[in-house]
C-alpha cells in the first residue's frame, strides 16, 4: 500500500526538457531594481508629494501676489532693479523647490538604505529572494543603485518638471497684470540651473555620498535589530573614544566634510557658473577617491553578510 502512485504527471504540465531561456545579468539587475519600486513606493511618491506641496504653496503665493500687485515680482520683472533683489524674488523659489525635493530624496534614500537588507530578513522574505537565481552581488548592487542613482535621477526629473510648471503658473497668474512675462523665462536661465543641478546630483548624491549609503546598507545587512541604532552608534563611539583618548576630533571633521558635501573649490559664486560645472576640481579631491574606496570595502562586506545572514 505504501508504494506511491507516481507515474501520472498531468499531460499539460509534464516537464518536457525545454531549452531554458538565458537571463542576462542586466535582466536580473533590471528586475531586482524594479521590485524595489514595487516594495518602496516612497522612492517616487515622496519627491512627487514634495513637489505637489511646493506647487500648491507657490500657486497660493502667486494669487496673493496678483491681488496685491505691489508685490516684488512685477517689480523685479522691470529690468533696472538691484540684482540681489532680483535674485531673491526670481531665483529663490526655484532654488527652494529644488532644495526641498532633493532634501526629501536624501531622507528617503537614507531610510530606504537602512531597511533595504534588514526588512527582507525581518519578514523572512529573504528565503524567497534567495530561492531565485539572483546572486547576492546583484541584489546588493541593485539596492545600492536606488539611493545612489535612481532616487537622484528621479528627483532631478521631478525638479525639472516642477520648475517648468512653476514658470507656466507664474506666466498664467501674472498674465495681463502688466508684468514682463518674457523676462520671467529669460531671467531664470532654466537650462543653466538644470545643468548645475544635474552635476550636483551626479557628484554629491552619486559619488560623494556613496560611502554613507554603503555604510547604511552594511548596517541593514548586519544588524540583529534596530538598524538605525547600529548605524549611528559606531560613529558616536569612535568620536567619543578619539576625543577621550587623544583629545582630537579628526573623525568628527571627516564626518562633517562627508555630510556637508565636497568642499567648494575656492571660486566665488558670482564667477562664471559654467566653469564650476566642469567636473575638474571635484575629481581632483582625494576625499572623493578615499570615500569611494571605503564604499567599495563596505559593499564587499555587505555582499558577504547577505550571503551568511538568514532571517532575523
Amino acid at each position: 500500500m505504501n508504494t506511491p502512485n507516481i507515474a501520472m504527471p498531468g499531460p499539460a504540465l509534464s516537464s518536457q526538457t525545454s531549452v531554458p531561456r538565458t537571463v542576462s545579468y542586466t535582466q536580473s539587475f533590471y528586475w531586482s531594481v524594479r521590485r524595489e519600486f514595487w516594495e518602496n513606493r516612497l522612492i517616487y511618491l515622496a519627491p512627487l508629494g514634495a513637489a505637489a506641496v511646493f506647487l500648491f504653496g507657490f500657486v497660493v503665493n502667486m494669487i496673493l501676489l496678483r491681488r496685491r500687485m505691489h508685490g516684488v515680482w512685477p517689480v523685479v520683472l522691470i529690468s533696472h532693479v538691484d540684482p540681489a533683489v532680483k535674485h531673491d524674488a526670481l531665483v529663490l523659489p526655484f532654488e527652494m523647490s529644488a532644495a526641498l525635493i532633493m532634501g526629501i530624496a536624501l531622507v528617503v534614500g537614507i531610510f530606504y538604505s537602512l531597511d533595504a537588507l534588514y526588512g527582507e530578513r525581518r519578514d523572512r522574505s529573504i528565503l524567497f529572494w534567495k530561492s531565485m537565481p539572483v546572486s547576492d552581488l546583484t541584489t546588493v548592487l541593485s539596492k545600492l543603485a536606488i539611493p545612489l542613482v535612481i532616487i537622484p535621477v528621479l528627483s532631478f526629473a521631478i525638479v525639472l518638471v516642477t520648475q517648468f510648471i512653476m514658470l507656466l503658473l507664474a506666466s498664467t497668474v501674472l498674465a495681463g497684470s502688466g508684468a514682463n512675462i518674457a523676462a520671467l523665462w529669460t531671467q531664470q536661465s532654466f537650462l543653466r540651473f538644470s545643468l548645475e543641478l544635474f552635476y550636483h546630483m551626479l557628484t554629491v548624491h552619486g559619488l560623494w555620498y556613496a560611502p554613507l549609503y554603503a555604510w547604511l546598507l552594511l548596517v541593514s545587512a548586519a544588524a540583529p535589530r534596530a538598524p538605525f541604532v547600529w548605524a549611528v552608534l559606531p560613529p558616536v563611539v569612535i568620536w567619543t573614544v578619539e576625543k577621550m583618548a587623544f583629545n582630537t576630533t579628526y573623525f568628527l571633521s571627516l564626518l562633517k566634510v562627508r555630510l556637508m558635501g565636497p568642499p567648494d573649490p575656492d571660486m566665488p559664486r558670482s564667477a562664471d557658473l559654467m566653469s564650476t560645472l566642469i567636473p575638474h576640481h571635484f575629481f581632483d579631491q582625494p576625499g572623493l577617491w578615499a570615500g569611494l574606496a571605503v564604499a567599495a570595502v563596505f559593499l564587499a562586506i555587505t555582499v558577504q553578510l547577505r550571503r551568511y545572514r538568514g532571517p532575523v
Binding site: N2, N5, I6, P9, L13, P20, W38, P133
Partner: protein, 291 residues
C-alpha cells in the same frame, strides 16, 4: 551521479551540534521525506543543501558545491523554505513578472494555468491572501520552474487539511516525474505516507533511519499481539512495545512476517508509529549514554 551526496556533513552553532557528520545519498527521481523532532537538524541539513549556510565535510548537490556555487545551483534547484516567505507587499501579478524576469526555467503559462484553478486574483497583494492561498501561489510559482531538485521545508505548516491534501496532490500529479527529485520535511507525517519513495528520520543531528518505502514494508512489521502470546512475541525482540486498547502492540525489525502472523495481527506500521519507535529508542539510548 546522485542528486545529492554528502559525506561527513557537519555543522555546529557554537557548542550546539546541528549536524553530526551525516552521510547521505539521494538518487535522481526520488521523493524523500525527512522527519524528525524540532531541533533534529532537518532545516540545517536543507540549508546546507541549498547553499544558505556554510558547512564542514563534503556535499555535492547536482554535482556542485552548494555554498561555493549557489548562484548557478539555483537555476536547477528550487525551494519553499517555510510557509509564508513570500513578501507581503507583492501583488500576484508582480510575483509572476518577477520570477519570469529572473528565472531562466520559469514557464509563466504553467503558473497561470495552475492559478486559474484557484480563486487567487492577479491584482491581490500577498498580505490580503489567506495562508492557504499564499501556499498555493508559492506552489504555482515553484511548480512552473523546471527544476531538477525541489526542496520543501514544512511547506504546509499551519494549513488546514483541505489545502494540505491539495498541495501534495498537485505536487504529485502536476509536477513530479522521474526526472525530478523532491525533498520534503514535515511534522504532518500521515499525509506524506503515500507520497514518499524514501524516508529518513533525523534526531539530534544524526540520521537514525534511511531507507526506501519498499524497504520499510519488507523490514518492519507491527503486530497486535494475541492475548496470552505476549511472552513468545517478546522473545522475538521487538524494537518497541506499547499498549493499545488493552492489547500489546509490538514493532519488529527484520523478523519473519509468517512467524509473526501466528502471534497476532501483523501489518506494516504507519510512519508515525515507526517514528515513535525508532526515534524514541534513539532518544532513550542517547539519554542512557549520558547518564
Amino acid at each position: 551521479m546522485a542528486c545529492i551526496e554528502a559525506r561527513g556533513l557537519r555543522k555546529s552553532f557554537g557548542k550546539t551540534i546541528a549536524l553530526d557528520g551525516i552521510n547521505l545519498r539521494v538518487e535522481d527521481g526520488r521523493i524523500l521525506g525527512i522527519i524528525g523532532p524540532n531541533g533534529a537538524g532537518k532545516t540545517t541539513a536543507l540549508n546546507a543543501i541549498l547553499g544558505l549556510t556554510p558547512f564542514q565535510g563534503e556535499l555535492r548537490v547536482l554535482g556542485r558545491d552548494p555554498w561555493a556555487e549557489r548562484d548557478q545551483l539555483m537555476r536547477d534547484v528550487c525551494f519553499i523554505a517555510d510557509v509564508a516567505v513570500l513578501p507581503r507587499w507583492i501583488r500576484v501579478s508582480q510575483a509572476l513578472d518577477y520570477v519570469a524576469g529572473v528565472h531562466p526555467r520559469f514557464d509563466r503559462a504553467k503558473a497561470e494555468a495552475f492559478l486559474a484553478r484557484t480563486t487567487i486574483r492577479r491584482d491581490s497583494k500577498v498580505k490580503h491572501l489567506s495562508k492557504g492561498m499564499v501556499a498555493q501561489l508559492h506552489l504555482a510559482l515553484v511548480m512552473a520552474i523546471d527544476a531538477k531538485l525541489l526542496v520543501l521545508d514544512e511547506p504546509t505548516l499551519g494549513l488546514d487539511l483541505l489545502y494540505r491534501k491539495q498541495f501534495y496532490d498537485s505536487l504529485l500529479n502536476d509536477y513530479f516525474d522521474r526526472n525530478r527529485t523532491i525533498i520534503v520535511t514535515t511534522h504532518q507525517v500521515e499525509e506524506l505516507q503515500h507520497v514518499l519513495t524514501d524516508l529518513m528520520f533525523m534526531d539530534r543531528g544524526r540520521i537514525v533511519l534511511d531507507c526506501s518505502m519498499e524497504e520499510i514494508e519488507s523490514r518492519y512489521v507491527e503486530l497486535a499481539v494475541n492475548p496470552g502470546q505476549a511472552a513468545s512475541a517478546r522473545a522475538l525482540k521487538p524494537i518497541y512495545e506499547r499498549e493499545a486498547l488493552g492489547r500489546s502492540v509490538m514493532l519488529f525489525d527484520r523478523v519473519d512476517r509468517q512467524q509473526l502472523a501466528a502471534l497476532g495481527e501483523a501489518h506494516t506500521p504507519s510512519i508515525a508509529d515507526l517514528f515513535v519507535a525508532v526515534v524514541g529508542n534513539h532518544a532513550a539510548e542517547a539519554q542512557g549514554a549520558t547518564v
